[in-house]
Amino acid sequence: MLFNSIQFLIFFPIVVVIYFLIPKKVRYIWLLLASYYFYMGWNAKYALLLLFSTVVTYLSGLALEHVKNKELDEPAKRRGMKICVAVSFTLNLGVLFWFKYFDFAIDNLNMILSKLHITLLNPSFDIILPVGISFFTFQALSYTVDVYRGDIKAEKNFLKYALFVSFFPQLVAGPIERSKNLLKQIEKEHSFDAGKFCDGIYLMLWGYFLKMVLADRLAIVVDTVYGDIPQYGGMYVVVATVFFGFQIYCDFAGYSTIAMGAAKVMGFELMENFNAPYLATSVADFWRRWHISLSSWFRDYLYIPLGGNRKGKARKYLNQLIVFAVSGLWHGANWTFVIWGMLHAVYQIIGDMTKGLRGKAAKLLGLNPSSTANRIVKIVVTFVLVDFAWIFFRAESLSRALMAIKSIFTVFNPWILMDDSLYTLGIGRRSFSVMLLGLLLLMVVDLFKSKGISVRQKLQMQDGWFRCAAVCVAVWFIVTVGIWGSAYNEASFIYFQF
């Protein structure tokens, strides 16, 4: 079930109330049951995959612990442990490959074979991607590596471990939690904490605002333009691409924030997944702020094992290309995602290579690197680069992405920013205004965040009844103005056809 569904709004309060009513010792079992019920809301059969990944990584943890404690010489121990890790990775990534990348691989193989005039392979599998498989697979694998590295001890209690992999708030779209953080919290018994409870509610409301009021509204405009690029060229594509940058941010950050809030209501602290990413002053900075749980996963479990920046510049650049290409593939089985990822690597490589040159140029021009103006320029340039890359992320295919880019440079129609053309893209003037005001609010909140000011904390300091009123208004606003329910078509209602 989705967070913005009626089912979840019924499911969540029931889970929370029962969670706090039952004895602390069995609460994790209740959460485990709730998490599997939550996941089975999509497809009950795929809960078996979740279970499979859980069993494999749980056993790999026990096996690693067993090998570690065995009286063997160091190389044999290492070898044994590596085998455990390899088995866990092979099985988990094998399942992920089968469900997510098999068709993509076959398509590419067919393309190569057809060039060699060899008969094509015709796979007859109709594979449906299980929801959240990339998220829970990576979370489970991080546990295997953490046990291997000795960062944590293997979990003996299977049910607790199963809850770590399946914890419903972050099961299908992150944050991808680390065993060091979440497993330890599962071990602990949680008492009801009114402060955390309220804070969790505020987080959830902010998440719903981002998702329902902003992301889903932006999506209408973006889908209209990207659905018909030949008709909507030039400035329409620019506007839609800027909106898509905010759509994906609001959508993803919205989901993560609801997840954090839902977990916090029950006393769990999940890691922050987004930290004002569009205030980043470089692409590298962007990746320290965007989908933090995934980028840190790649840093810890891929970039550093590949050698990171310890083996010279050339190797560092190669590592960056590999990591970002894999990151792109993680997002989806399509070359558009690979190119999106590699573009980010190229940005950073060029940035690194020209760092000295840029510094000299700034000195020559007498620019103050710490001035606000310089910072604003950097933020804008970073946004432009990141947003340009989003074109590949959003377009259905490479050819569509190239068509969109070509259209930006060949179709001249800047007047659409001034006349009422933008109100014909699926949302009207009022809806458009709400969207822009909402984005302004988001940027203000992000600005406060970057200055270390938490709006939530400020709210917590207010009088209780003021906070109650704020919650009432927020719920009312989101439910009324948010995009949900059946699409309302005034025309079909008004049209009096007999």
Binding site: I6, F192, A194, G195, F197, C198, G428, R430, S431, G464, C468, V471, C472, V475, W476, V479, T480, V481, G482, I483, W484, G485, S486, A487, Y488, N489, E490, S492, F493, F496, Q497, F498
Partner: protein
């Protein structure tokens, strides 16, 4: 904050938020269904007759006309696109709260298989119905699962209307028509033959059992179980052959259950030049004819008393006044000569029509049919615009006296006695008809005063200068002599 305090605050937040959303839902809800049917669900009133059916009934049966002429209290629960399965559920919900003396159901969708036509129409029918077990059953039965939530919680579909909120959203009024919808337009008469519709299945093999037929059976059985008489009807419209075939099934069904069936199409009561909005639907002239036909039938065949002089039903007389005001508003809102002439088919008022010599309306069959139709409302003789366009034509339709007077000449002054006073007739220098009422010179300029109110001075001047005024129409309150509407065309 302790747990108790938190629970109290939680409850307060829940209650206040729900109230805010309820208020918002009230403002944002789509009003079509509410303004039509909310009175039925809101009041404790009992009705003699309840009508069910599709748009043919919504536009064809006027409860207030039934009250005015027969003293029958009724409510029109039909709706556009409403199928018999929807009728059945509405009937079931209605019989849970009301005890009518008669249920009238139209058979139009008898041969349909689908349980609903257009989802928005189902909203109109069911949104005003208060939540109940029957409503939930109806929604589950009629609609696909993906649409059911929209009916259980209509706010899920209407909340997006915040984008179009205007002053009107805060000024919700109930319709004074007791569920009917009068259509005040005249459809262009159809000269093309009615397209053939393949009803061979019906003609050859008799009744084909359809989903809608099954629900009609359930409706009849429900009424019989509750001891409420049911009358099946087929509203008249312009496809008489089609309707005759269509009604075969209804006749057989009525026979099977021993319930009466009235085939409106077989009565030949409609004039296709004046009584239709389009090929399939009556306008208010046609609706008055069909309603009065039903009134006669019901009064003669059922034990339903005339309540017009019953003190307990005084509120119906008050409601009728509100309905009358609505009709006067409508009379003044139409800007088309044909529509205005069509609205003259109403015993509520009397009218005068003058046509200038040489006007193209002489010999216009459609115009003649509309004037004739208006005259037929008076009940005694008909107005017949002569084909000779060399003379001026003047006609008085006195509905109170039940009399039609026609005057043809070169413009000689004349006087006519009517139920609302003595009308003085003459022509002014431009050849326009001038009227006086009871010799009063105050009313000599009657028309020009109203012209200034109805039309801009420029328009009136243009019309006068160019000598374009061919037809003049006066509508009188025949009790007071007040002019309700004057227009020149």
């Amino acid at each position: 904050m302790n747990r108790r305090k938190l629970i109290i605050r939680g409850v307060v937040i829940l209650v206040v938020t729900c109230l805010m959303l309820e208020l918002t839902a009230y403002v944002l809800r789509r009003n079509t269904g509410y303004e039509k049917n909310q009175e039925f669900y809101r009041s404790d009133e009992e009705y003699d007759v309840l009508f069910f059916g599709s748009s043919h009934v919504t536009m064809g049966v006027l409860p207030m006309e039934l009250w005015r002429n027969y003293g029958i209290t009724s409510y029109n629960l039909a709706n556009q696109g409403q199928t018999i399965p929807a009728d059945y559920w509405l009937l079931r919900a209605a019989l849970e709260r009301k005890n009518p003396s008669l249920v009238v159901m139209d058979v139009y969708t008898l041969y349909d298989e689908q349980k609903y036509s257009v989802i928005e129409y189902v909203h109109s029918s069911f949104d005003p119905m208060p939540m109940s077990a029957t409503k939930v059953q109806a929604i589950r039965d009629l609609l696909p699962p993906e649409n059911q939530m929209d009916f259980l919680m209509p706010f899920s579909i209407y909340h997006n209307r915040w984008e179009s909120v205007t002053k009107d959203y805060f000024e919700r009024e109930l319709s004074p028509q007791k569920g009917a919808y009068e259509n005040n337009e005249v459809g262009v008469p159809f000269v093309e033959p009615v397209p053939e519709i393949d009803m061979s299945a019906v003609a050859d093999t008799g009744v084909t059992e359809t989903t809608n037929m099954q629900y009609m059976r359930k409706a009849i059985e429900l009424c019989q179980e509750k001891g409420v008489p049911i009358l099946l009807v087929a509203a008249p419209f312009n496809d008489e052959t089609y309707l005759a075939e269509w009604t075969n099934g209804a006749e057989q069904l009525a026979e099977e259950y021993n319930v009466p069936f009235v085939n409106g199409a077989a009565q030949g009561m409609l004039n296709t030049m004046s009584d239709l909005y389009d090929r399939g639907h009556m306008n208010s002239s046609g609706a008055r004819k069909w309603t009065n036909y039903l009134g006669e039938y019901i009064s003669s065949n059922y034990d339903i008393s005339d309540k017009r002089n019953d003190a307990a039903y005084q509120s119906w007389n008050e409601d009728y006044q509100a309905y009358r005001e609505y009709k006067v508003q409508e009379l003044n809102s139409v800007d088309d000569l044909n529509a205005l002439l069509m609205l003259l088919y109403d015993k509520e008022w009397s009218a005068c029509i003058s046509v200038r010599a040489g006007c193209e309306k002489f010999g216009d069959d459609w115009f003649t049919a509309l004037v004739s139709n208006a005259g037929s409302c008076a009940g005694a003789g008909e107005a017949n615009v002569p084909g000779d366009n060399t003379q001026n034509y003047f006609c008085i339709i006195d509905n109170k006296a039940g009399q039609v007077t026609e005057h043809i000449g070169s413009g000689e002054a004349a006087e006519f006695t009517t139920s609302f006073g003595t009308l003085g007739y003459s022509l002014d220098g431009d050849g326009n008809t001038m009227l006086t009422l009871n010799g009063s010179t105050d009313t000599t300029m009657l028309q020009t005063q109203i012209v200034q109110e109805d039309q801009s001075a420029d328009e009136a001047e243009d019309a006068g200068q160019q000598g374009l005024i061919g037809v003049q129409v006066w509508v009188f309150n025949h009790d007071t002599g007040e002019v309700l509407r004057y227009s020149m065309f």
